[in-house]
Amino acid sequence: MTAAPVLSVSGLAIDYELSSGGLFRKRRSVSAVSAVSFELAPGETLGLVGESGSGKTTVGRAVLRRIPAAKGRIVFDGEDITNLQGEALRRLRARMQIVLQDPYTSLNPRMKVSSIVAEPLIVHGLAASAEEARTAVAELLERVGLPGDAADRYPHSFSGGQRQRIGIARALALKPALIVADEPVSALDVSVRAQVVNLMQDLQRDLGISYLFIAHDLAIVRHISHRVAIMYAGRIVEIAPRQAIYERPIHPYTEALLSAVPVANPKLQRARRRIVPPGESVDIANPPKGCRFHPRCPLASNRCRKEEPQLLRKSGDHFAACWNRDA
């Protein structure tokens, strides 16, 4: 992509404080994510997949400046937002939004749909009158395919898929340049999932939004993403256009991931050779030395146990972090 990126993250590291109970005891912290770098072009979708607990949500929340970065830089629309505070940060919120996983808990049950969707407009002073807000809400609800009478109802009277649409409408209200979608369809029915994914694609086409699309469903990710990044234990281990990832994976973890995707065909599924990596996932408080995947990697060599591989260009725009594999 040649256009200037909407979002560019470089060398991002995030630490979490561990709860220690005691009042005066010194707090320890663990590094949840480090050395994460990627770019996102306007109108592009970057799929972010990987092990659960590998830090996908953490990266998404750091991009939205919900948690502070320990290291690294986040540049949004040409502006360094890494250390933005107070009012400036609040104004930034107008341009990047979130769609959350759970459609049942992500909408305030005590607010009507109209006020949920109008809230972003109100807090940013974008609606001058009640009339204007109502029109804007009606447009947004129509945009996401909800019935006209939805505005006056409470969230509990909607199905999961419809609630997710309400969440998307809320995110769209501010016409953001970037939406971080953290497992937006995981909680939905297969038949409804397709409706929501199609909607997100239509919106991208019409409005030029970029998505950071976090998901576990590799089939959906393939469908919606332009590029895909794979995370393992707090690192991005591979990032490439979707075709390359799915057809010519480089990193052994990516291979394992792809081979583990269940397919809806019992005979095929039973016959498939699955590479389930042996052993446990990494304890991020005591990560192994060298490559973080080495205790589970079939190709691990001595070098892997000592030095950590960097994310390097293997070919074209295919990057991977592995000593023993090349494109």
């Binding site: 009042l23 919900r66 939004q97 909408l107 109100i122 109502r134 809320r170 501010l174």
Partner: protein, 322 residues
């Protein structure tokens, strides 16, 4: 906030549960105990508010002629003093009506102060979290473990007895329950996705607290405050009984019980009627608070409805069977 005026018009800040006041009233009428409780509370509040108009006598007016008159239905009783008179000839009924004023005022003001203090501390601890939270909650623990009555007596001894001393000291010894309750709810509500979404949208902390977090607290807080009210009434009675609370010639139920105890054997009504007033008030409040707790919780409310339905069905089946 420039836009706040029309926010209000866009969505009246009514939680989903109270959107049908009429059905709430009909539900209240179905729950006999709660309805009676509420009726009694209203009656007492009415009497307290309009004491000068309702009370037959000035509560402090003494009448040597009519000392220690028993209630009207007893042998020496007269219609002039329905519930009898005390050793100075003061009308017991009038004293109870006027006493309600002091008792209810102390209860209400104390609850308000304690709840406010507790809510602020709880909100602060729960919203900021981390070290602030630990420090504040440790403070609460310390004060909870400190014997309250000791503190009351200590303060009264230093400041001297009186209504406002009592209110202050009872507030200071009762805010901790609120702080714990609020802190628990706030810190778990803080984790809910819709609060996160509100923050990402760009809501200022004040809006997040008032619009997204506080509504979850209102109903448990209200219930707690009502129950605490009964504790305050009892505490006021106890302290006044000991002579550290309301001072004569002012009057309160606790004080009346206290001053009547010397005549317990010759004039039982001096202790019994104010005591009864306390018991009945406390009971009514409990009955009503229980109903309120269920009604303000959407899930509990559905359950109560379903229970009533099941009972109805069972009765119908029995009738058919018989």
């Amino acid at each position: 906030m420039a836009a706040s005026d029309f926010t209000a018009s866009l969505t009246p800040p009514i939680p989903a549960t109270t959107s049908a006041p009429r059905s709430a009233i009909s539900e209240l009428l179905h729950d006999k105990a709660a309805a009676i409780g509420l009726a009694f509370i209203l009656l007492i509040v009415f009497l307290a508010l309009f004491a000068p108009l309702v009370a037959p006598y000035d509560p402090a007016a003494q009448s040597i002629m009519a000392r220690l008159k028993p209630p009207v239905w007893m042998a020496r009783g007269t219609w002039e003093h329905l519930l009898g008179t005390d050793n100075l000839g003061r009308d017991v009924l009038s004293r109870i009506i006027w006493g309600a004023r002091a008792t209810l005022t102390i209860g209400a003001v104390t609850c308000l102060l304690a709840a406010t203090l507790g809510t602020v501390v709880g909100l602060w601890a729960g919203f900021i979290g981390g070290r602030t939270d630990s420090v504040l909650m440790r403070l609460v623990d310390i004060q909870v473990s400190f014997p309250g009555i000791l503190l009351i007596l200590l303060v009264v001894a230093v400041l001297g007895p009186g209504v406002w001393t009592l209110v202050a000291v009872l507030s200071v010894t009762n805010w901790m329950v609120y702080a714990r309750l609020v802190r628990g709810i706030v810190s778990s509500t803080r984790q809910t996705p819709y609060v996160e979404a509100a923050e990402v949208i760009g809501c200022r902390p004040a809006r997040v607290i008032f619009r997204h977090i506080l509504p979850n607290i209102v109903s448990p807080l209200l219930t707690l405050a009502i129950l605490e009210f009964t504790n305050i009434v009892l505490a006021e009675a106890a302290v006044s009984f000991l002579g550290f609370g309301v001072q004569p010639p002012a009057t309160s139920w606790g004080l009346d019980v206290a001053s009547g105890r010397d005549y317990l054997f010759i004039a039982w009504w001096l202790v019994t009627f104010p005591g009864l007033a306390i018991v009945v008030t406390v009971l009514s409040i409990n009955l009503f608070a229980n109903w309120l707790r269920v009604t303000t919780d959407p899930e509990e409310r559905e359950k109560r409805f379903a229970r009533a339905e099941t009972a109805k069905r069972r009765r119908a089946r029995r009738r058919v069977g018989a």
